[in-house]
Subunit: 357 residues, 2 copies
């Protein structure tokens, strides 16, 4: 178990050694540690080796010049100049928040970015000023649309954070597939089978092989099969891809350049404008009084928590609740880092002449 | 088989007889016939008897005074004054489109409305002026959140319409559950079993009874069970409920007053502000050149259609494609109306002294 502060300063020092500014190293560590605290370790320190790999290949710039390419009073298009997603993402979400201050809502499409960690982080930036925050991103093509043998879409997560009054906020943050790539990686690392309904083999047949992605297989869309609505998961993932990447001019669908060694690129990289994100901010009081809204959100949350649970379950879970509880617990008791992640991080520490974890 | 024009004039005359204005009767018939043409008959003429029932109960007003309660340059809150959803919906979507003309995007939350037919209709209103259209609505509480015995959410559909260039537009329009209430009703009417993964019984156990909704059962969220991501379907449906109803001040979650006789009301109606919708419009050129965007949407669509299909399937289907093909076919060959719907409509025709279909 490691304390939040201890791991945070490790991450900051590592990115400082890689030519990131102090401010940017702070942002990166903040987002990665938020994932660890919230129990989403698949988007935490585990990802650092991937980032360092892309930095060394020149695919991520340590000192990007992030630019606003075009804007209206409620929108903007941002070019991330191959920066790491956390830096680009925080810039863009702040811009969306600012626009909503003046005209009620703000919407920012981003191109030329990279993996940004947990989408929930950006959506939650809206909460303190009584706004609804929205964040989404496209990603490595790993998900096969309904009826396709080929993976054309990412696990493309959506996060929506909504303020409440006395209750804790509603924070939904989910991949638009039954399972995230990170969770499959962990299952595969532990030699576990995947439940049927997560992946298909290279011919589109059902599979329970958690390592199928490196063998031409693909993740299924949310819904699993056509009869159970996989076309709806496919729609949802497509919407995230189009908002994040077609609207911004980033690589979309099968053209996304994989950031993982085990995925071969499906199509020629047609433009090279990184991956894309999409951020939104809506001021509650652009619709109605924030006080009334938050009182009703409390009622919404309470009426869901008071619903009769199925046998064996304590209650209906409000989106964001398990993550918040994990955050409180880990802040107090410390963060566990798996052996394999520790090994990788310590190799990196050695390489950059840093004290090992 | 009946021609589009024949059915349209039947619907117009019926609503004229019920004190709707000519303009409004035209809008209602337009939305209902769009559903029939697009092959979504569960949202077409089949719904008319429900609307007439609610009109007679005084829950729908034929001549509502639709009002803008609050607005900013990019947002508005609209009160539908218990109008039928099509009339209120079209008013609100037009307002969203207008706002996006001036500030890039427009977002309208609506309360005090009723069933609005197919969400896709409103989203598609954005296409002709190179905008992305978004429409969603909450509905009768029929869906049980993950771990709940009780149904607290509607099948809460989302529609997103995105323009393309030479290709036809992308139009996703889907309930956030594996099955819509309408399709279950049809299965039940035909004495068909539902596939497992659609519904649960009153104790939250798996069921294949398509008539379970009238016996205390519930529809499952998209994903089916917790292991396969039902919590993501639950999140999605919740977001639609909160955007449509908490943001607007409509009845939300379990407080929605059912429009169906077979559903008992779960909670006291706390406010009586009907159901809620949420509409959005984003001008493509508020982000980048509409020409470039549409060229890339063509490439997006083509690369999905060219993906290798699984055995037994012709190709990957682009959202909106089957509905568009149905529209062309039915416009030419006519629209089929089921015996049971015909019977109900002819009873209504008789009552209002109209020529039977």
């Amino acid at each position: 178990m490691y304390s939040f502060e201890y791991l945070k300063s490790f991450v900051i020092n590592l990115f400082l050694k890689n030519n990131f500014s102090e401010q940017d190293a702070e942002i990166i560590s903040d987002v990665l540690l938020a994932a660890e605290l919230r129990g989403i370790s698949t988007h935490g320190l585990m990802r650092i080796s991937e980032y360092i790999n892309l930095l060394e290949k020149g695919r991520i710039k340590a000192q990007p010049e992030i630019k606003i390419i075009h804007e209206t009073s409620s929108t903007a298009l941002v070019d991330g100049d191959s920066g790491l997603g956390m830096i680009v993402g925080k810039f863009a979400m702040n811009l969306a928040l600012k626009k909503s201050d003046s005209v009620g809502t703000g919407w920012v499409a981003v191109r030329n970015s990279n993996h940004f960690g947990i989408a929930g982080y950006y959506s939650m930036m809206a909460l303190k000023s009584d706004k609804i925050g929205i964040a989404m991103t496209n990603a490595n093509p790993l998900v096969a649309p309904t009826f396709s043998k080929e993976a054309l879409l990412g696990t493309n997560p959506i996060a929506v954070a909504i303020p409440a009054g006395l209750e804790y906020p509603f924070v939904a943050d989910f991949a638009t597939s039954p399972v995230s790539r990170g969770r499959l990686d962990v299952m595969n690392m532990n030699n576990e089978k995947a439940p049927f309904g997560y992946v298909q083999d290279e011919n589109g047949n059902p599979s329970d092989d958690s390592g199928i992605l490196s063998k031409g297989g693909a993740i299924l869309p949310l819904g699993g099969d056509r009869e159970h609505g996989s076309h709806k998961g496919y729609c949802l993932s497509s919407i995230v891809d189009i908002f994040s990447a077609v609207l911004s001019g980033a690589n979309f669908g099968p053209f996304v350049v994989p950031s993982l060694d085990y995925i071969s690129q499906k199509k020629d990289n047609y433009k090279g404008k990184g991956i894309g994100h999409f951020f939104g901010s809506m001021r509650i009081d652009a619709f109605q009084s924030a006080e009334d809204f938050k009182r009703n959100m409390d009622l919404w949350i309470q009426s869901f928590k008071q619903a009769k649970p199925v046998d064996g379950q304590k209650e209906v879970i409000i989106p964001g609740e398990p993550e918040r509880e994990s955050e409180i617990k880990k802040m107090k008791e410390g963060i566990e880092i798996s052996e394999s992640v520790l090994r990788k991080l310590n190799l990196i520490a050695e390489k950059f002449d840093l004290k090992k974890i």
